[in-house]
């Protein structure tokens, strides 16, 4: 390695050497990975809660309305913001209601949503 005092005393700057010394990789703080995981989890959780609230709010008439693909914008948008797990929440909620009400129409609705999502 070049002696820096030689450079200052008269020889030409070795700029590439200096840049290599100055621009060294910076180790990210350990907390950054934890923070990133928390952010990802928070986004997924927020989307899950949004979908869960929405599913709980659904009245029978709204469930019927969901057979119309034009009404699928909200779940699709919410799932887009979250994760596949949140999409599964919609299906689980619909399936739960389907079991409770024993309405075969909901099963096909869930299938339609699954295919759509």
């Amino acid at each position: 390695m070049r002696d820096p005092s030689e450079t200052l005393s008269g020889s030409t700057w070795d700029v590439e050497q200096l840049l290599g010394d100055a621009l060294r990789p910076i180790e990210p703080p350990e907390r950054l990975s934890a923070r990133f995981e928390d952010t990802m989890a928070a986004i997924t959780q927020a989307a899950a809660e949004e979908l869960s609230d929405w599913a709980e709010e659904l009245s029978e008439s709204e469930l019927s309305a969901l057979r119309d693909p034009r009404n699928w914008v909200r779940p699709v948008v919410a799932v887009g913001a979250g994760g596949a797990a949140t999409g599964a929440l919609v299906l689980l909620e619909l399936r739960r209601r389907s079991r409770q009400k024993s309405r075969s129409g909901l099963r096909s609705l869930a299938g339609g949503l699954r295919a759509r999502l």
């Binding site: 390695m1 002696d3 820096p4 005092s5 450079t7 200052l8 030409t12 700057w13 700029v15 590439e16 200096l18 840049l19 290599g20 010394d21 100055a22 621009l23 060294r24 990789p25 910076i26 180790e27 990210p28 703080p29 950054l32 990975s33 923070r35 990133f36 952010t39 990802m40 986004i43 989307a47 799932v79 887009g80 913001a81 979250g82 994760g83 596949a84 949140t86 999409g87 599964a88 999502l117």
Partner: protein, 189 residues
């Protein structure tokens, strides 16, 4: 017109595909975290904003990761994620109307040397090169950060900056030449 299937976001994948994608992204994150953080740090000049920028870059990368993998055709994804960080950093300056702080606290040269005078001389050199680097045109400074802090080759830098290989080679050559000339002008007699 693009195929709608090409625009599937992670959330819209089947669970098995989503799990595979998440594993791949985790590996990608671990492999490139230091590069993205280093780039962010040298762009913004402080750890606080570098953390924000890095986090935002990876969140955006995650959103488009599946598509990027498919379209990369086996090429490394490092230029792609650095390009994301590059664009975010540009927005950061546009929003805050400020220039980066020169990150000198990490410019601790030649740690193995114990001679005080040599260390002092080395630090002065690094201080000068960082000061001159800070005043280069943005594209030249960014190309040098990619080359020297991240060890990217011309092709990777070209992809990250959205330029041709030839134009990138010229850009880096001129950046080094400009630094050389400006430091020569300031060299003690």
């Amino acid at each position: 017109m693009s195929d709608p299937a090409q625009n599937v976001e992670p959330a819209e994948l089947a669970p098995a595909a989503k799990a595979e994608l998440d594993r791949a992204f985790e590996q990608f994150y671990r492999s490139h975290l230091r590069d993205v953080y280093s780039y962010a740090y040298y762009r913004v000049g402080n750890h606080h904003d570098a953390e924000d920028l890095t986090e935002q870059a990876f969140l955006q990368a995650y959103r488009h990761f599946d598509r990027a993998r498919r379209e990369s055709d086996g090429r490394p994804l490092r230029p792609w994620v650095i390009r994301i960080a590059h664009n975010l950093a540009s927005n950061y300056y546009r929003d805050r109307s400020r220039r980066p702080q020169t990150p000198l606290e990490n410019a601790d040269p030649i740690a193995a040397r114990h001679d005080t005078e040599a260390i002092a001389a080395g630090r002065e050199e690094l201080r000068q090169v960082m000061a001159h680097l800070d005043h280069l045109p943005d594209d030249r400074r960014e190309a040098l950060i990619m080359r020297f802090a991240l060890g990217m080759d011309n092709r990777e830098i070209a992809r990250a900056l959205g330029r041709s290989d030839g134009a990138t080679k010229v850009l880096i050559h001129r950046a080094i030449k400009q630094l050389q000339e400006e430091m020569e002008d300031e060299r003690p007699e």
